[in-house]
């Protein structure tokens, strides 16, 4: 996780466009200014950042399904449940699946696990729009390459 850049997914472990699922890895950094305030002497990953982590995993899944023709923007969260504390250094497995593909919007179910145990989960809604600009899409493709987005999967999806 690069908290300072709001890039919370480290690596895409598996993108299955047939099953419409994604599994990603994300390691909470050992140090961050966020932990200095949240909380002094008792560092915890903020729940809002865990929800954003699930958003980003869902977003890469949607980008895969739409083959980089649409940008998903977070619109709503439901049933967000923060089931356990997440602390610096923990290795997380973040997964998402499609709940519904509508016209111009998509809903996902997502969860984060640590050592096999679900630490949080949510139902997420995204609006899908065309990329605001070519540069925007290029920047997303660059991030995709950094986290191992399997471009070859798009040819088979």
């Amino acid at each position: 996780m690069r908290l300072e850049y709001f890039l919370l997914i480290d690596r895409i472990a598996e993108l299955n466009l047939d099953d419409r699922t994604i599994r990603t890895d994300a390691t909470v950094p050992d140090k961050s200014t966020i932990f200095e305030g949240h909380f002094p002497g008792y560092p915890l990953m903020p729940g809002v950042l865990l929800i954003e982590t699930m958003n980003q995993a869902s977003g890469w899944l949607i980008i895969g399904l739409t083959k980089f023709t649409r940008m998903p923007f977070f619109a709503a969260v439901k049933e967000a449940k923060l089931r356990a504390f997440v602390t610096p250094g923990q290795k997380l497995s973040v997964s998402a699946s499609i709940k519904h593909e509508g016209s111009g919007y998509t809903m996902t179910s997502a969860e984060i696990r640590h050592e096999g145990k679900v630490v949080c989960s949510a139902e997420l809604t995204f609006r899908l729009v065309e990329f605001p600009s070519p540069d925007f899409r290029i920047s997303m493709e660059k991030v995709a390459a950094e986290i191992g987005f399997p471009m070859e999967a798009l040819a088979h999806g």
């Binding site: 619109a75 593909e101 016209s103 919007y105 609006r127």
Partner: protein
């Protein structure tokens, strides 16, 4: 009124916490019932699931934005219901 309308009205009532009696075929989802675009996504989701269709919201939005259609054509409930019936018929028609 059709069972399609009753299903849609019940979905709107439950999704947006609007009294069922206030929802009529003449109601405009946006102007009369105060449903915003985000809430309408939940309604569209429930309609898609209930009828096994996909409301073409992107196309409708584009048509309204381009001035080729009015919101009344899609968001007055008797018109929305008719569109849903058309989509159901198209789904069951032979290819």
């Amino acid at each position: 009124m059709s069972s399609t309308f009753d299903t849609v009205a019940n979905i709107i009532s439950e999704t947006c916490d609007i009294e069922r009696e206030k929802i009529t075929p003449e109601s405009h989802a946006i102007d009369d019932l105060g449903i915003d675009s985000l809430d309408f996504l939940d309604i569209a989701f429930a309609i898609d699931k209930a009828f096994g269709i996909k409301l073409p919201l992107e196309q409708w939005t584009q048509e309204v934005n381009d001035g080729k259609a009015s919101t009344e054509q899609y968001f007055v409930l008797k018109n929305l219901t008719a569109r849903i019936d058309d989509l159901i018929a198209a789904k069951s028609a032979p290819a």
